[in-house]
């Protein structure tokens, strides 16, 4: 049984959510598997840029402030 901690993300093309692990499964045939900075959506095949960890940490601080703003 495989097990690991992964992030989830929303595909930029089809807007469906997936777990990084699933993206890596979809990327299995690629020689760069695990070594590139792109995550392939298992639903539509779109390549999503992998947010850098430092960016994620920064956004988790900023996003609560942005989330309080009204949006459509």
């Amino acid at each position: 049984m495989s097990e690991g901690t992964r992030r989830t993300m929303v595909c930029g093309f089809c807007a469906r959510e997936f777990v990084e692990d699933k993206a890596q499964t979809a990327c299995g045939a690629c020689v760069l598997n695990g070594g590139c900075r792109w995550l392939r959506c298992p639903h539509c095949g779109y390549e999503n840029p992998e947010p850098p960890r430092w960016m994620h940490n920064l956004m988790s601080l900023v996003q609560p402030v942005l989330a309080r703003r009204p949006h459509g």
């Binding site: 049984m1 495989s2 097990e3 690991g4 901690t5 992964r6 992030r7 989830t8 993300m9 930029g12 093309f13 089809c14 807007a15 469906r16 959510e17 777990v19 692990d21 699933k22 045939a29 690629c30 020689v31 900075r37 792109w38 392939r40 539509c44 095949g45 779109y46 390549e47 840029p49 992998e50 947010p51 850098p52 960016m55 994620h56 956004m59 900023v62 996003q63 942005l66 989330a67 949006h71 459509g72």
Partner: protein, 663 residues
């Protein structure tokens, strides 16, 4: 993952809201695409654990969070429509539910389709486990004129019903409270079925005396539908091997005119529809919201094409070309690199007595004065503005509509709207896009898309530099656009005729058009810029070293001299020979060289147009060619190369002849 029943007591069973360290297990269940994962993220965090359900390849995602004072484990299960569904994923969820694998079930449903989803609710209620209904996407339902009486639904079902918009976090706190309250008591069982099915279930239920993880009513209902898993559980759970229950079941089923499974499903759906009719009202949608209206406009050819042209004009021409390639590059090239950084490096390396070594760093092809300057002063501002524009479009949900818009045109080129994905990605990086062509359905489509990417889709930096070069020469830009677009259409159409195979079919569920979110756009832009810069800078430096070594040994000049007749035939100055050499290392490196040449005033408008068209159509960069070899095989990749190289120079030659006669 261990999913057993003998766990330490959770904090709700201790009757105390204080942290106990024990885990309350909450499972999110529901149909596919109702926002379970969005809610899961809200309840836990972005970091989750993925593991296979024991004995299967089905993945269960789990994370931890806190509700009140309790630690909770939240499980995001695969989408399911019914407890009697047949797919492996849905059987696994059903097994998990019948095992009593969760302390609290949260059914996530789409507020736009409450009636359809209540049938699963009724099955979940039969389990007799604590249950909460999270009605998600209330905002989308409201825009469609759908109103839900959540309190009324809660009264009728006897469970908490929480309206919410999970992506925005609306209703999440109320859901947390409802989960904690529900964990203290199981859901009551409201009457669902008519006399026939209802009495059969009640009779079988009464015949069951074993101990089960869920209310035996659920097993009784499944048994009369002929469910094999329920039968196994009953045979194992009953002292008499379930004989009494089976006899009762057969007696009742013999009175049914239709297949029992069908009868149960029909009655359950009728009950669900009756429930929905009492709590859901559909108002006449007086107007579509801006997203739906704009979404329709951009996907229809009559309005979608002008919108596309407007997007290209404002986004690519004005923002990337004029602002990124003009304003930003001017500042970085002139005041920053021209007046400060390069002179500083010049002074820094002036002490090196050996000209050959010094020129490696600060010469014509120096690592710092050429490699770093190209990467930072020319390419970075252009790809930065391009990626910002690209991320804005991406986050707005425009790309799927673009796929729909071009689907008809693409079909004539042997492609489908799905090919928009690699084509759009090609404008970011052709190498990556070539790899993505493997997601296309047919071999024919994959070959055609690979060829068109190599031939007529400029990558982000190349496109940006060309737009920046031609931003002040609209005629040249128009000719370049028509040449490249014309090549794309003509070669695609010819390729579709030459290559055998069926035309592809394209279906796609369109996500809603939405305002781009600042956080998403910034994150995606920065992620792409970081990727690009980390990849491009070492290669630019390496290319500078190659060029420096070539110049030192005379090999560079020999190759450039060999190319002179070719560039001469295109009507280009001899200096452009090195541009094509640059372009072989990387497309954007070649484009940056062209940018440099134009700034030195060495190119007339005709020469600029011819050079830009030839360079765009010219051989893909090394990385893309290697990817073509890997994805399409040696034979196909070499055949494409053999076609593209003479085609690019032939097109440049013809264009030069035509422009010199006409202009």
């Amino acid at each position: 993952m261990k999913l057993s029943l003998d766990r330490t007591p959770s904090c709700h069973t201790l009757g105390s809201p204080e942290p106990s360290g024990a885990l309350l297990r909450v499972a999110l269940v529901g149909s596919p695409n109702v926002g379970k994962s969005a809610l899961f993220n809200r309840l836990t965090g972005r970091y989750v654990t993925v593991s296979n359900y024991p004995g299967t390849s089905v993945e269960i995602t789990r994370g931890t969070g806190r509700l009140g004072g309790c630690h909770v484990e939240v499980l995001d299960t695969p989408g399911m429509y019914s407890l009697t569904s047949a797919s492996e994923e849905q059987r696994v969820v059903r097994r998990f539910l019948l095992d009593g694998g969760a302390d609290v079930l949260v059914q996530v449903m789409d507020a736009k389709n409450v009636s359809r989803m209540l049938a699963l609710t009724l099955q979940l209620v039969e389990l007799g486990r604590p249950l909460v209904i999270a009605v998600n996407m209330m905002d989308e339902a409201a825009r469609l004129g759908i109103r839900l009486d959540a309190a009324g639904l809660s009264r009728r079902l006897g469970v908490a019903v929480v309206p919410m918009v999970a992506v925005d976090g609306v209703g999440v706190e109320e859901l947390r409270d409802a989960i904690l309250r529900a964990s203290r008591e199981p859901a009551p069982l409201p009457p669902i079925y008519g006399n026939g099915v209802g009495s059969a279930i009640r009779a079988v239920r009464a015949a069951l005396g074993g101990t089960y993880a869920v209310d035996p009513t659920a097993l009784a209902a499944l048994l009369i539908q002929g469910d094999a898993d329920a039968l196994t559980r009953i045979r194992t759970g009953e002292r008499d091997g379930g004989e009494r229950a089976l006899t009762v079941s057969r007696e009742h089923l013999s009175r049914f005119a239709e297949a029992p499974a069908y009868r149960v499903a029909v009655e359950r759906q009728q009950a669900a529809s009756a429930l929905a009719a009492g709590v859901v009202t559909q108002q006449e949608a007086t107007r579509l919201d801006w997203g739906a209206r704009l979404g329709r406009l951009v996907a229809r050819p009559v309005t979608g094409v002008p919108v596309l042209l407007l997007v290209v004009y404002l986004g690519l021409y004005q923002f990337v070309g004029q602002f990124g390639g003009g304003t930003l590059v001017d500042w970085l090239e002139g005041p920053l690199f021209g007046e400060r950084i390069n002179p500083f490096f010049g002074r820094l390396f002036a002490g090196i007595p050996w000209e050959a070594v010094r020129s490696l760093f600060v010469g014509e092809y120096g690592l710092l004065t050429l490699g770093v300057r190209y990467a930072v002063a020319i390419i970075l501002p252009i790809v930065g503005t391009f990626f910002l524009f690209f991320s804005l479009l991406e986050d707005s949900g425009y790309f799927p509509r673009l796929a729909l818009l071009v689907d008809r045109l693409f079909k004539r080129l042997g492609l489908s709207g799905r090919a928009v994905i690699p084509i759009v990605l090609g404008f970011a990086c052709d190498t990556m896009a070539t790899m993505v062509t493997r997601t296309l359905e047919t071999k024919r489509e994959r070959v055609l898309a690979t060829l068109l990417l190599a031939l007529a889709i400029p990558c982000s930096a190349q496109l940006g530099v060309i737009l920046a070069l031609m931003a002040h020469q609209p005629l040249a830009l128009g000719i370049w656009s028509l040449s490249v677009l014309g090549t794309f259409v003509v070669i695609g159409a010819l390729g579709a005729r030459v290559l055998p195979g069926e035309g592809p079919v394209f279906h796609m569920e369109l996500p809603p058009l939405r305002w781009p979110r600042v956080g998403n756009v910034v994150t995606k832009t920065v992620a792409r810029m970081q990727w690009y810069f980390l990849e491009v800078l070492p290669l630019f430096l390496l290319a500078s070293v190659f060029l420096w070594a070539g110049q030192l040994t005379g090999a560079f000049q020999a190759v450039a001299n060999g190319l002179k007749p070719l560039v001469g035939a295109l009507g280009l100055p001899v200096e452009t020979a090195r541009i094509f050499l640059f372009g072989f290392f990387r497309r954007d490196y070649g484009a940056a060289g062209l940018f440099d040449l134009e700034r030195q005033g060495l190119l007339s408008p005709i020469q600029l147009t011819v050079a830009a068209v030839t360079l765009t159509l010219f051989i893909p960069c090394i990385a893309q060619f290697l990817m073509m070899l890997k994805e399409r095989g040696v034979k196909t990749a070499l055949a494409m190369l053999a076609f593209i190289t003479p085609f690019a120079f032939g097109a440049g030659y013809l264009l030069n002849l035509v422009l010199r006669r006409v202009l």
